[in-house]
Subunit: 497 residues, 2 copies
């Protein structure tokens, strides 16, 4: 019997051998015969919270079923939800409020059983679609591939079960062209096999802009949306649905002409950000070489509204989106639209970003020398400030390199108790971590807690310690004080005069 | 005897064989013995207007001398200023107001004679510093070089003449490291040769953000500034001076730690913009291939403040700065700071931008077929909307390619009467240009005049005509109407459904 363990509660769940959840689903449906049924496919960082938003919709009451796979990595989420424990740690108080509401109303069920699709008025696709990267020893991107098989079989399970009048709303970030060239043919083929008409279903795409963190719920409920349908009727159906869950008094929803356009807008949006970060990388190195402070320059330049999106230096790009979306786009350009050219700037941007942790490590060695046997504390392991998301965090690569030198590693993060990718625990008591036995402190994520005066005072009082600031935590005055006692280096900042 | 002809008044001036303007300079100095003297080196798009701003300073009255070279391209500017004609056509009413003031006060003289530097309290360096590019047949950048000789000799002429207590303020966009590694040694060497102390002069860098157009004067006088000095005293001197000409109640001035930092900030600022444009290029092609509208996508994405600098599609990058500044930066990284790496993303951005007119031309041929023998009207030749600046305009390359097909070319631009680089006149009467004999209209610059309802009505009434919109002039509704009668193509917009 296989086990799926919750990193949140620590509880282990046995995955059943016989996969039949029909009794639970039928009971749930019966209890909510007066409501429309929404099924969310995928219970990850997007789907789980999207399900909450639907279960707490604005203008209409829904009964929501979340579906995920019964495997070791995801089965615990299903059981956890049904046990009344939300499967994400979040800094947004609305998460627990919305989940408690749903539990009280009994309008949120989780299951692995694709029977659920049979009852759905709306099916929302929130599954992953990954890119396989091949990198060289310097972490430069050499090649990549997009494998749609997992995505296709998920869509197929919808097509095999869905009602003929269902609305399928894809939120997954897909290679442009996917709804039109992949999802539509699969669903129609399955409907035809079941001898059902293909004129009654609706299909649309509306990409999420979910941002884990203190505004997690509002990043869905009160954040501008872009949507499209494969037909006017589909677009109308998507619009009507979105208006029931999104507070349009607080944000706009924008229709584009085609699902190709919304799919492209999503990867364009993320490629733009990834490319801006890659741009900052090159200039960080240049600033270090020229002995000047890139932070000060960026501040001076950002005063111009035309330059407000210029990025600060940093340790690298993480998260599920920016590390792959430019590649999805470039792949689609050739595979779905027959172009001969790649999106060179976008691919190059990903490659530059992928190399950042190596840059950060080589500067560490350059400035602090050999750290083998030293006690090294990392402050922050998630990829972004005030968020407990470690997916593709650049800190992971830096931690590995420092560990490989033979250093003793201590990890701290207020938002991550268990680091799933590294299979290790993370300290959450900052005072317990910051003591005089530390040789080197690496500030590796921009959590607000680290920016508190009390933390900075504590860091400044620790002596003797080396400090490697990869996120620009300290201002110039603090640095000058620190440098009078410690060896301090800041990524993207040349040696102070 | 050599002649220098004004493209503004059409008047020809003979360049004197004996270059001695000392009488005029001495008379001017005598008339203004109560004032501080500012000498502006270079009377181009920046220097000429900077001189006006100094002659109309805020807290202190200056006497201003503009210096340029006595050659065919620039001598007319000197004579023109002294004849009471400002050497630029500008859309900003403040330009003529400020010039009229200076003429009335008699506090603005122009000369070619470097004797002027002897009297200067402040010397402002506003000369050009060019990059030599080598491109392949596809306009891809193959190589480039920066030749500092002209710049060095201009600095030398300052060093040979300046007072030992002068403030030299470099505004020219230079490769980072130039003030410290080039300007400073030259000036000090010349002072030593003249047996003067080197401890009394001040040297700083403060880059301009001059934007020709309706806010020309305010882009100096009321626009945020960044500055630095080679020492604390130099930075103080620069600050004190800037506060006399810039209205600090309307904008901030920011001190950076070193001239390396201000020099880098300038090229970073422009590289950021050039790279953003290059990014849009790739996605324009992708949008065209996928048959979707990049304008609509950009609008939807720009709703996010983090994405507000995302650029629209366009015909290419022009102007004096964005086409070369990323290269200055990359050159300096290796030449002044010993780095082994280029700024790859920045260089790649310039190369992509350089290819844009060729893209625009190939799409023209693809959509409209052979245009040889056709009458083709270009609306707009300058590189930017509402500006009469044709330096490195991408329209030039497109015009050449269309002309080479054997098409009959008509050029229109409300801001350019004479196209200096192409040595030809440009029509300014829009109604005279837009008639029924036109085969193809290319909208090639985003001047407000073209966006007027009356112009759009006129364009929509011309029939039969092909329209190639490279700047996104028409909205979707207008396009649908146009397309019912004409063949219309928009760069960055796929075929409308």
């Amino acid at each position: 019997m296989k086990i799926s363990k919750s990193p949140i509660s620590g509880k282990s769940y046995s995955i059943p051998n016989t996969l039949d959840d029909s009794d639970e689903i039928k009971k749930f449906i019966l209890n909510h015969s007066d409501k429309k049924i929404i099924v969310v496919q995928g219970l990850g960082f997007v789907g789980a919270v999207m399900a909450l938003v639907c279960a707490n919709s604005i203008t209409e009451e829904y009964a929501v079923i979340g579906v995920d796979l019964p495997n070791e990595n995801t089965y615990w989420k299903i059981r956890s939800i049904n046990d009344g424990i939300f499967p994400l740690i979040a800094d947004d108080p609305k998460i627990s409020k919305f989940f408690d509401n749903a539990v009280a109303n009994g309008n949120f069920l989780a299951t692995y059983d694709s029977l659920a699709y049979q009852y759905a008025d709306v099916i929302i696709v929130d599954i992953n679609l990954d890119v396989q990267k091949i990198s060289d020893a310097k972490d430069r991107l050499k090649d990549f591939d997009v494998n749609l098989e997992g995505f296709k079989s998920a869509i197929q399970s919808i097509g095999k079960n869905c009602r003929e009048d269902v609305l399928v709303l894809v939120e997954t970030t897909v290679p442009p062209g996917t709804c039109d060239q992949v999802v539509k043919p699969i669903i129609e083929e399955e409907l035809v096999k079941r001898e059902l008409p293909i004129k009654n279903y609706q299909l649309g795409h509306s990409y999420e802009r979910v941002m884990p963190g203190p505004q997690y719920i509002n990043s869905i409920r009160e954040f501008p949306r872009v949507y499209a349908g494969i037909s006017e009727a589909s677009a109308d159906a998507v619009e009507k649905f979105l208006k029931t869950i999104i507070d349009i008094s607080k944000c706009e929803i924008t229709r584009l002409e085609h699902t190709n356009a919304t799919e492209m807008a999503k990867v364009l949006e993320n490629s733009y950000r990834a490319m801006n970060i890659a741009f900052a990388v090159e200039w960080s190195r240049f600033a270090e070489e020229a002995g000047v402070d890139l932070y000060a320059m960026v501040n001076a330049i950002r005063a111009r509204p035309t330059h407000a999106n210029l990025m600060y230096p940093g340790i690298g790009v993480g998260g599920y989106c920016l590390t792959k979306d430019p590649l999805l786009a470039s792949w689609a350009r050739k595979s779905h639209f027959g172009a001969k050219s790649d999106l060179e700037m976008s691919i190059n941007g990903v490659s530059i970003n992928d190399q950042m942790p190596k840059f950060a490590f080589s500067r560490l060695v350059e400035v602090f020398g050999d750290v083998s046997g030293k006690k090294v504390v990392f402050l922050g392991v998630s990829y972004r400030g005030d968020v407990g998301d470690t997916r593709f965090t650049p800190v992971e690569s830096l931690v590995k390199m420092v560990r490989e030198t033979g250093a003793k590693i201590v990890l701290h993060d207020p938002f991550v108790r268990y680091w799933e990718e590294q299979k290790c625990n993370v300290e959450s008591d900052l005072n317990g971590v910051l003591d005089s036995t530390i040789d080197l402190i690496i500030i590796s994520a921009g959590h607000s807690k680290y920016k508190l005066e009390s933390t900075i005072d504590k860091l400044m009082s620790l002596s003797p310690a080396l400090i490697y600031d990869t996120i620009g935590l300290f201002n110039k005055e603090q640095l000058l004080i620190l440098q009078s006692k410690h060896k301090v280096s800041v990524l993207g900042r040349g040696d102070l005069k």
